[in-house]
């Protein structure tokens, strides 16, 4: 399932629901991205998506992940709108028979979300606001999967 939300969410509730009732899934990996306060430099993070397009682009990479890693299931929830320090921005969960596939798929999906998924991210801090683009490291991380 791939979903955007403009409301705070509880990663643990998502994990419990995701892991429940699986009899052949040996491995569930998750990643939760949280907004960092950066010692007060960031007051608020603002995430924008292109509704419809964003979900469909993420859906394409999710299909790639399912096939490449033989996933049993996956879940991606991404916040949009204004996000305070310490709040979850993104939650990714992957289910597979064995741990290597679950870990790698989760890692792959996050590298993609960081540098290719249709989101635009603005930091509001005491010194004003700025748009954040993927870092050189984000591109290097993603290229590991090419």
């Amino acid at each position: 399932m791939i979903r955007l939300t403009d409301q705070p969410f509880e990663p643990g509730a998502l994990l419990s629901e995701f892991a429940r009732g699986r009899e052949e899934t040996g491995a569930v990996a998750t990643f939760t991205g949280l907004a960092r306060a950066e010692q007060g430099a960031t007051a608020i993070l603002e995430l924008e998506a292109y509704p419809g397009f964003t979900e469909s682009e993420i859906g394409k990479i999710a299909d790639q992940a399912r096939e490449r890693f033989g996933l049993h299931d996956l879940l991606i929830l991404h916040r949009v709108g204004k996000i305070g320090p310490g709040e979850p921005i993104v939650f990714v969960a992957t289910a597979a028979g064995h741990r290597r596939a679950a870990f790698e798929a989760c890692d792959f999906l996050m590298d993609y979300l960081k540098s290719r998924a249709p989101f635009w991210k603005k930091e509001h801090g005491p010194g004003g606001q700025r748009w954040i683009e993927p870092t050189a490291q984000d591109h290097i991380d993603r290229e590991r999967w090419d």
């Binding site: 397009f53 921005i89 989101f119 748009w131 954040i132």
Partner: protein
């Protein structure tokens, strides 16, 4: 008449989020926007800016029909 959407830094630069613009193709649309706002025109050609027509990424030029939705997408960053 195409519906034009700007995202992220492009929207802040232009001062608008969406507009209807009369243009028969993406290249005509770019020229039209650049004629009105030179800085925006240059930014639309900037590194990493992608174009989606009717929610599909396109490269190069494409004819637009009435009701086409054209989105200009600066470098993306989620997570």
């Amino acid at each position: 008449m195409a519906r034009v959407l700007l995202f992220g830094s492009l929207r802040d630069l232009a001062g608008w989020r969406e507009r209807d613009v009369e243009a028969a193709s993406v290249s005509v649309l770019r020229a039209q926007l650049a004629g009105e706002d030179e800085a925006l025109g240059a930014a639309l050609e900037g590194p990493g800016v992608q174009v989606a027509v009717d929610q599909a990424l396109v490269r190069g030029d494409l004819a637009l029909s009435a009701g086409s939705e054209v989105a200009f997408l600066p470098p993306m960053s989620g997570g």
